[in-house]
Symmetry: C2
Subunit: 173 residues, 2 copies
DNA sequence: GGGATTTCCGATCATTCTGGTAGGGATTGT
DNA sequence: ACAATCCCTACCAGAATGATCGGAAATCCC
């Protein structure tokens, strides 16, 4: 983790998601070049190797990467970067996208006492669909080619059109 | 909490957000009817009153509700339900929408060693904007009128057009 | 004024989650 | 043989979550 939160924040992605995504983008960049050792990724991204091992285990069990043991071994993407979405990676690392248990992917729990008069469920349903849509619409191939040379030349922030909306923070006032 | 997670899930909204949102929807439904005691809300929604006190304190400090002490006192929305969004409520309860510290609302931290070659930032930027957009586009007035009589008559699931996407769960495999 | 009601405030606490570390076994290339 | 590397399990410290508790202050009704 680069900067510690120190304050409550909503929808924060944990280091599992963050580190794991970095690893996947790196593997996507080196796709087709054979096995990549986790050590080289860890050093290149300045991340703790032993911890990455755990995360990569999840990615492997989800069928996103394949490992090869022994000297000269390492990991590589199990599929083409263009056919793996950010959603696949996040789900493998952090579980199904599920704002509430009644709005989960797969088999949502709906026998809820609130349900008959629940005014909030529609909100979580919408949120789930929105988040899943955003994550599933970005592939590793797209992420891997950023930042491009041209972008790096601009040296800076505002990488995408929409910088974070300037809405008031007011955290747990 | 109704059903315990028991398994890691991504983008889960804590009970602060869940309970607090229920309270706000309930206050929206009773808007214009004077003060509503927290006890009546807690009993109506089967939520722990003492815990709600804490959450409502956050909502009050954020200027979303106003409290009145003493017998016959209680809380009421500080503004019209149509001018308060779900995003306002979530931010008051859980802090700014911030997938990563470098993509926070307000003052994101960008002096990040990864930044020059970071392929993941664009993902979190997009995600932040998407989540904020979804939450800011729903008002308490809209939430409060659900489920309508007609919806309740249909007795069931699939309340909104999009039921949760049937994507594979595969949690922390 | 006395009590009942209700918001407000701060402390405490058990459990779970997060973000790792540590150690060792299995497999492969040289 | 040996080094590199994946693979697996256990452990651990600190923070966050989801509350509970006790009491102070304000307000209303009699």
């Amino acid at each position: 983790m680069i900067g510690n939160p120190l304050q409550a924040t909503a929808f924060h992605v944990s280091t599992r998601g963050e580190y794991g995504m970095r690893v996947m983008v790196e593997l996507a960049r080196r796709f087709g070049q054979g096995s990549v050792s986790l050590r080289s990724v860890a050093e290149g991204e300045s991340l703790p190797e032993a911890y990455l091992e755990q995360l990569v285990a999840s990615l492997r069990r989800a069928g996103l990467v394949s490992g090869k043991r022994g000297a000269g071994g390492g990991y590589q993407l199990a599929k083409d970067p263009s056919s793996v979405t950010a959603g696949d990676v996040v789900r493998a690392l952090e579980g199904p996208i599920e704002p509430q248990v009644c709005t989960a992917e797969g088999d949502p729990i709906v026998n809820c006492p609130h349900e008959p008069k629940c005014g909030t469920r529609q909100l979580w349903v919408k949120l789930q669909a929105t988040i899943a849509g955003a994550l599933d619409s970005l592939t590793l191939a797209e992420l891997a080619k950023w930042p491009s040379e041209r972008q790096r030349a601009r040296s800076g922030s505002a990488v995408l059109a929409g910088a974070p909306t300037m809405h008031a923070p007011k955290a747990r006032a």
